[in-house]
Point group: C7
Chain length 75, copies 7
């Protein structure tokens, strides 16, 4: 019997892949998804911050607090 898939499975498949994380404050962080937890706290590596699609800052590693996130998608 196939198991029902859950939302965190999709994040799990995106591990080590490049994703865009969008925040309630309209900032975007693009980087490799290193880890996440049930609160959707997220860590990206080789990250950059974008605003309106434009690169604002290069960041090595960034920790993003889950409750500030709206959506996460592979780039």
């Amino acid at each position: 019997m196939p198991e029902v898939s859950r939302p965190l499975d999709a994040l799990n498949r995106a591990r080590d892949k490049k994703v865009i994380v969008e925040l309630k404050n309209h900032k975007q962080y693009v980087g490799n998804l290193k880890s996440f937890d049930i609160h959707i706290n997220v860590v990206l590596e080789n990250a950059e911050e974008r605003e309106d699609g434009e690169v604002k800052r290069k960041l090595g590693v960034i920790f993003i607090r889950g409750d500030t996130i709206t959506v996460i998608s592979p780039e």
Copy 2:
């Protein structure tokens, strides 16, 4: 005796069907409902982002954090 239906039953019936997810920030995501959980975290496939009814971006898969969602309906 018929069981009382619950809100998540309606989401369950919408699995693999096309739905519109509306966010507190007024964005809309349209796609096939792949999974959801009790926090109403949602994953859509073949998704696109719309703003005021207009397509803004094509997205493969998107994870939407539950607390940012207002309503979900079949398209």
Copy 3:
């Protein structure tokens, strides 16, 4: 001894009846109350979206996330 009534009893009495659900973002959804849970997540059938009393969209079924709701009343 009569039992003390609780708020969810009122929602229970409104099952399958027409209700107006008002949201923090000032939208209104009118439809038949199909189900609700303790988070006040709600499902309406034969729903329509109104803004300032005017019908904006006809919807079959709609799932409304509880934390976005302000009030629910029979129409």
Copy 4:
């Protein structure tokens, strides 16, 4: 020894009495307090909606979600 009184005792004494419920969105609902719970979800009967002290709508029964409420007082 007298027991220390608790906030919900005050709501309990207001049962079936006329109260004003004020919301974060500045709306006011006036009606008879039929029920409440620990989340301060509230049901009023013979309710009316007021805005800036002016009656906007007559409502039979209204369910008000607790987290949208600021204060409750007997009229």
Copy 5:
């Protein structure tokens, strides 16, 4: 050994005394602190509502939902 004091001790000492309760929406309620709980839900007696220091309304009893409160201080 003296016990470490806790924030609710300060509210306990203010019982039956006149306090000012300030809300996130900038309203102030002044009255005798009748009761409070761990959510900081508060009941005042002989209360009045003030806005910018000016009395707006006389209220007998008022229940204030904790999550709308910023600070409480003896007048």
Copy 6:
């Protein structure tokens, strides 16, 4: 083996010392840190309220609800 330090240890070391507490509504309260709890509810003594660095009010004791606080620092 040295224990890992935790954020509340820093508040503990500031007990009875003068601290600045900043709120989401941009007000600042300066006073002696009398007590705090895990919600970061805080009580100050000999407190004063400041806005843009300017003293607005002298207060004896003030209870500050934790969820309204952004930062706490020794003055």
Copy 7:
């Protein structure tokens, strides 16, 4: 078998190192990460407050409440 990494591991590796903490109110605090907990409450030492990249205040120690934080990154 390698363990799956978690978001708090990244904060753990940043202990005693210089980090930038960004808040929902757009303030930034730069300093050495002394401690954090599961709520992402954070304590920085040798901290300074910045706004739009400009130093506003030098602070010795600062406690930052977790729910006000958006992102944390090594400088």
